[in-house]
Symmetry: C2
Subunit: 197 residues, 2 copies
Amino acid sequence: MRDKQREETRRRVYLAALEVFRRDGVAGCRIDDIAQKAEVSRSAFYFHYPTKDDVLIELLRESERPVGKAVEELPLDTPFEKVLSTVAAAMADFWKDEPKLLIDVATVALRLNSVVMDREAEPVRGIVAERFRLAAARNELSPVLPAEVLSDFFLFNSLAAMVAWSASPGLDLEVALQGVAMLFLTGAAGPKLKARS
Amino acid sequence: MRDKQREETRRRVYLAALEVFRRDGVAGCRIDDIAQKAEVSRSAFYFHYPTKDDVLIELLRESERPVGKAVEELPLDTPFEKVLSTVAAAMADFWKDEPKLLIDVATVALRLNSVVMDREAEPVRGIVAERFRLAAARNELSPVLPAEVLSDFFLFNSLAAMVAWSASPGLDLEVALQGVAMLFLTGAAGPKLKARS
DNA sequence: ATTATCTATAGATCTATAGATAATGC
DNA sequence: ATTATCTATAGATCTATAGATAATGC
């Protein structure tokens, strides 16, 4: 009973915060406005979320869930290209309607990445890294860097591409992310440099 | 005379801010401490820098200067690989002793990238993009994406790699950045996928 | 006289903490 | 009785603005 009430309040605060973030921006908004919209005291906001960033971390985790799920549904012997395009599609599906909050979420993701090095707290990182390891074992991945490093790098790239997209969300996000995945795989070198290698 | 005094105060505030940022973190520090260290009133800080982020933007611009200079000193027909490794070396040289402020600078860089789309305000972006265009004309660059987009992407990648490095600055930053540049050029695909293409 | 640089300060907002209320466990 | 959830509030910090001072331009 108490737990149920708590979760309900927390959710109300969470949704109110996202609404206000979208309207006034994360840096610019007042916590009073969030509390008012959620019909709680300002202190209640702080009880559930020590800072505004904690709300964004929760959004980051929610965004990771469908991506992790989509990858986990793929058979373990799925070709590597297919894994990458699945990640791209799931990410695009989540973020295509939420360009405004992307930058701030990317920012907390950057910050988290350098604070907690705990791969378990971030399910997607672990799930994607596993597929990278399998691909490396099948020679579908360059051996010059550890699979985990390449995996993190791929996720970073995708995030960067989404931020760039959010500045001018005219074109299709999924097309952009698929392009980034292919670039990651094949490299930016043109025919002349390629021929030499 | 007035200009000279102004610039001197501004510089004192700037250096004091960086010192306090390094000690207490950007988010955690108090502007009062910065003002005190610079021996001016808190209002003087706000006169020169509307927000803490403006100090970081100045540091970002200062970090770009040696990178731009190093690239401009290369002959226009310099091989593309050499251009990339020059950027990597110059970036590493500037940031190797400043791991703490990297994340916050990367954050403002992200934010700027999505606000001002003015390539002229950011000298390095323009200078590097020019070399990418030349490389594309010489067939050293993949034609699937515009040279400017690839250029921005390369800079993004380097920034991301530095942030990752700053979390565990044990290894050599320059080695890491050179590795990223090579990965950018040749892609992450292993022998099996490469053979097919 | 005018303007640029810097200061002092009022009001807004945040952070930390003491306290109220109602659910839980014994 | 104890604890979890939430509120009220004091003190800290920030933001906006009116004002002081000294350099500049006429």
